[in-house]
Symmetry: C2
Subunit: 159 residues, 2 copies
DNA sequence: TTTTAAATTATAATTATTCTAATTTGACAC
DNA sequence: GTGTCAAATTAGAATAATTATAATTTAAAA
């Protein structure tokens, strides 16, 4: 964790930005909640525990800065809120998401599934791809197996 | 166009909704601007020409209703605005987008590029896919060729 | 035509995000 | 260590997008 923060600090410095306490607290919150998909408000509330004097505007500015540096990616899942997701260190592309329309869970796919598709797009549409957003909407593995259980029960009853 | 509206009317009726003049005007605007990616506000302004008494809230409600019916898809390209995009009749999935980071243009890809990827996701993640959102961010063919022109000019000068 | 649930309007309220102006601070030069 | 100053922060106001409310109107079935 410390080394990760140090590397982000260096990234900031190389672009003449400072790692202020507020920024550091924000980064720590993101690292500690790596698997979540926090909104600016969520981050703000969590950062307040570490640095109670921080303002919401600072959180927004910090998240925007981290987006610029490609430390986080900003994404919108269709509710009206932007969410911020840590990018894996060294990853050149944003990872993919599975959004469950039943329970609302958001799972991640770190594998790059789009290599072939991107080749086709670059060749056929003459479009130079810099990044992508890929989200699947459907039913997550937990809800799918919940359905299976229910069906099993119904089957038992009808015997 | 009329037949398309009639089919949408039937879709509404089959779910016990009415095709009010406001809704019809909204659908017409969407059909007339099929290649654009209009925000609710954009739609509102265009509908006002046809039906000046319409309110913005009605446009929002209508667009939400059309989303439910899968006549349009709601999408967000990262500016804070939701945009509404007509789905091709009979298409089971939303089409893909190319967003140019230089000129802001949004182009569409109607081809289904994700067939194979979706099979992999369903098999490996046990996720039942219902829909998807795929957007590429990069440089559109127009801007790419603009770059090429500039390079050509620079080359000519340096001769 | 009448009836009635559904839809609309105008406006207020809410929510997310950005801006502003005054103040504070991190980091470098001395 | 101290002074300096651009960069960053804060609090709060402003803006923009979207949704809710309550009174009124209307599409369409009987």
């Amino acid at each position: 964790m410390e080394s990760r923060i140090n590397r982000i600090k260096k990234q900031l410095h190389s672009r003449k930005y400072k790692l202020t306490p507020q920024r550091e607290a924000t980064v720590r919150v993101l690292l500690e909640n790596e698997e979540d998909h926090l909104s600016a408000e969520d981050v703000y509330l969590l950062v307040k525990d570490k640095a109670p004097e921080i303002g919401l505007a600072t959180v927004y500015r910090t998240l925007e800065l981290l987006s610029e540096l490609k430390v986080v990616d900003k994404i919108n899942f269709g509710d009206g809120v932007s969410r911020y997701d840590l990018r894996q260190e060294g990853a050149t592309h944003f990872h993919h998401h599975l959004v469950c329309i039943e329970c609302g869970a958001v799972d991640e796919i770190q594998e790059d599934l789009l290599g072939d598709v991107e080749k086709v797009v670059e060749r056929n549409w003459h479009f130079k791809i810099k990044d992508h957003r890929l989200t699947f909407h459907g039913i997550c593995h937990r809800c799918v197996s919940k359905h299976a259980e229910v069906e099993q029960k119904e089957h038992n009853i009808s015997r």
